[in-house]
């Protein structure tokens, strides 16, 4: 099959995760999370996020985001997010359609919110005509491959809290963020007041496993019910939990994320020296955004999979994953150089 840089979802499963699934495939275990593997996951999560953290495995990232937000929201409330956020741009309207959540969206240049950008929508509290902006969702690392520093996130969360808002962190790529920040998960979640996290494992080498992690015990009682009514409760949950446990064992999550981030750096470094290619966002996690001549893009896409991000500007997105090889990167950089030489003028 043709390889490429289309998505970190195009990669397969890390072999250790397959092994972990097979390893728990014996005997009967209670369904729906009452099993021994999910109990192990709880331990890992408490170790990483703090003693009050609770983990609720779900199927996918959209599910994690919507379950977390719905569990924190009353029926008339709304969510402030970056316009580029996955909940707004890529979830087929699930927040609105499953949970009735209105999104107040803020355009950003780099996918990152700031206290000032939050203020553009965090007003009108108490006015019934305005869907109440009581929730904030932040993505770390962002959809644009950028990263909040711990201090930036702490400021943003503190500002939201001062306004009476609850805070969710979409961590579809939280491992890439932790590696890039060289910080433990809790430094930019539990320790700074984030209430709930969507913990992503699928893009990090799982087959299909994410978890809603509740950090604020005052608002967590809804999650078990919402997970069920939102159709995100797995019957044979042990096999979802086993994937998460495998990644959280012996720092597999970290090794996979570090590798993906390194490949993105290698790719960015490689193309920076090619004249006519412009990297458009800071490369801080596992994504590289760049502008190429459309003819070059078209020609490259015959051999490598990747997406055009913005047809108007010719911007493309290249994602690196846990299984991207240095050969993948070097071959691709060479191909870009060749195409630029041939068609880039």
């Amino acid at each position: 099959m043709k390889r490429g840089f289309a998505s970190d979802n195009y990669a397969g499963i890390h072999p250790d995760v397959v092994t972990a699934i097979a390893a728990v495939n014996h005997d009967h275990e209670p369904a729906y999370g009452e099993d021994s593997v999910t109990a192990q996951l709880d331990d890992r999560v408490r170790h990483l996020f703090g003693p009050e953290a609770l983990a609720f495995p779900v199927f996918n990232g959209t599910g994690a985001n919507v379950v977390a937000l719905q569990a924190m929201a009353r029926s008339w409330e709304a969510v402030v997010c970056a316009q580029s956020a996955h909940v707004n741009a890529d979830e087929g309207g699930a927040p609105e359609k499953v949970a009735g959540l209105k999104l107040w969206t803020v355009p950003t240049t780099d996918g990152k919110l700031t206290p000032a950008l939050l203020d553009e929508h965090a007003w009108g509290f108490g006015d019934v005509h305005r869907a109440q902006p009581k929730l904030l969702t932040i993505t770390q690392s962002t959809e644009l491959g950028t990263l909040y520093t711990v201090a930036e996130l702490a400021d943003l969360v503190a500002h939201a809290k001062s306004l009476g808002m609850r805070v969710h962190l979409d961590g579809a790529r939280i491992s890439n963020a932790a590696v890039a920040l060289d910080a433990p998960f809790r430094a930019f979640t539990s320790d700074i007041g984030v209430d709930m996290v969507s913990f992503g494992a699928t893009k990090n080498g799982a087959m299909g496993a994410e978890a809603v992690i509740v950090l604020n015990p005052e608002i967590g009682d809804a999650v078990p019910y919402v997970r069920k009514s939102a159709m995100q409760l797995a019957s044979k949950m042990r096999f979802i939990s086993a994937q998460l446990v495998a990644l959280l064992t012996d720092d597999l999550w970290r090794r996979n994320a570090a590798h993906a981030n390194e490949m993105a750096q290698r790719l960015a470094g490689g193309v920076t020296s090619i004249e006519g290619v412009r990297v458009t966002q800071r490369v801080q996690a596992n994504a590289v955004f760049a502008i190429l001549p459309p003819a070059v893009t078209a020609s490259l896409q015959e051999r490598f999979r990747f997406y055009t991000w913005d047809p108007a500007t010719g911007e493309v997105r290249w994602m690196c994953s846990w299984d991207t090889t240095t050969e993948d990167v070097d071959t691709f950089v060479a191909a870009i150089a060749d195409e630029m030489a041939a068609r880039g003028g």
Copy 2:
């Protein structure tokens, strides 16, 4: 771990399914169903359900049911179902909460609807005050382990169609039904006018895989969108599809279901001869319902897992699965006999 008869979800994954997951775990594949494994699944499904059938893998049974029903419903419509149906009794309100579907529920003695029972709710067409009963959902085999004959189903579907209704079949245990009927899937779905099927694989030996199968091409265009907005679209879908393909290969689905059904017959046969135990439903698939003295139930539950179905009557439910052994059954029957002898008086 303690074994038992609590649920066909307590079993693990059939080894061939694990092998199949591992076998497709190489290289990059497009996400969200554009992969080669899902293409194989389409072939299998067309082979089994007819040339117009389309398969849409989803995560779980609740997801399959709600996606199928929502895809067929307009916003003001309602669903007629048996009161015992999974969509009514066991899905945490997902049909109402995710899709706004009102359920018109009919009490039954054996989980089976009839044209006359359908008529109890299939009226008021055109009256805006009555949520329009335009959908019918049928479960085969039922939640009570019973089975519609092909003729019964055909009559019921024809009656619904004559009223202008669309018909969904909840096939969480469709394989057990096909084996018990000794009929191909299409004999009681495509051939009799069923519009959509929830095809269950998880209870049949998968890790977690179901599919919405569209049989009526006129109403299928909604499924891809609804699957996404209902958060049932897997990114690394090839691994869901691989499970379905594995079960649909070399009749693995049939072998697993036949075994589970046989174990239920063995269990029912065993307890029938124990005085004081009364089997309450016909044993036609992989479930046995029986009434025991509560003291016997309590004592047995210390050694074997199973659920009390109705505390008022003492009715219990025993589910057999693909991995239930003859030894499991025989040990359990002996234990029941012992307990009845000790406490049953």
Copy 3:
């Protein structure tokens, strides 16, 4: 126009209500309830329901019911109600479709729930698979024209409270009930622990005005927001409030309801002596249910408007309203007698 007994919604507006609308039609008043007329309504409602009662005018009865229930419910909760309840039978699925509320419905013979009937659905607390039955809605007087005694309601509410449930009373015909019980509103609402009331005025002589009345201050904070998001917030609210104030002034509500109830008694009394007509429900408010030969019904319906309630049995419903005259009743009774004589054999 042809008069009849089809519905208490077929009547017009009591003249005093029209006068009241005209009387507040001068000058500017703030919209959305910040006006002086709505302030008056608050006073009346506190006087009638207790010092903590809060009134929120809405447009119609379905709106009142759904706003009240949604304001009390968390997203995964469900409502127990009689199968005959308006929320279940006559609201086009609004509770499910607007608020995602699952209804657990209980068949009754007379529209009245009891603690034992409540227990049929009030179980499974804490089980995520079961939409949590945390709300109870009761209709007083019922859809079948019957009445709970104060003691019956108090028992039912106390039982629900002992299960941790919240209680709503659908008072679309609350004035008819208060008159029939010869009790103040609060005797069967505030005083016995009801949390929220839908206070009906439209059938009592208003043009179109109902109110959600919050009795439990702990759960009322949601109503203003839910009323808006459920599209039940009137801009020129003073004219809705004026209708409610008019009915709550000088006991107009009582006079209208007493008259309607008397007309129902007169009608029931009149038909009781006609051989072949059987009154099927106790006549306790403003409705009479009776069984007639279908040919008689058909012939009567050419001259008088009324509905067949159950085509299977020939049961019909006759509603009396504030504007039903003794002549209306006597003419109708005579017509029934004539038709029975002519066709009733």
Copy 4:
């Protein structure tokens, strides 16, 4: 009571509308729209909007907008609108919460969309990850008091239609628009391909009456059902319809709107000559937007009601209504001049 320019909802009911309500208040009429007054309304609407137009009275503007949009949408679709649109900014999230509609919002400078602005969100057709932008809603006159020309609207609608979109026009102030354009309603609705209209009467002198008007017969069958399930179906509908009929009789709608528009022109003309006051939007209907020094605004608000639109810039909104008098305007202009002289430096 203090008068002012806060909202066209602060005005009362035009006397002819009160008279019309009283005039139909006799005898029994069938509920829910089967009455003779609603039949009259149908005639008026067909006369004004074309022979295929159908009118469905509802309670309020939010109700009209959401019923119209939901009736046109499939469950996975989304709506493109101006960021300033009432459906986005002022409806408490009703489109999302009642109908699950995602809104794709476009910032504008003057409340008006263009084909180019529509293109910013009208893409991704067929991509399940993107809530499908299949609906467009346009407000005429806009929330900012501006007006589309007939040609501008025709271009925009034609562009949307070329993309396969359905088009709704929010006509909360459609009468002000028709007068300002000096064009019949149908010139900028039926004749240019608009599918549904929210026809506003409340701000035009009604007590509380709006109508969903279906122009495209292919998509209108949903409206009766959606109106009911969205809780916008009035029982004593004749009194809603009577208001609409009254305004559509003898051009009362036109006289009321013309007057309000003239008052806005008079106000804008008056303040234009006051140094330091800047009118910020074109005054084309019945609204004036202006920037004043905050101290002047604060002082004026002690005597006159009006809202600050944007605290950051000091922009205020002044609405004129059918009952605004020349004295109201002149007194207000004089007061502004005085305050500017006193505090404007």
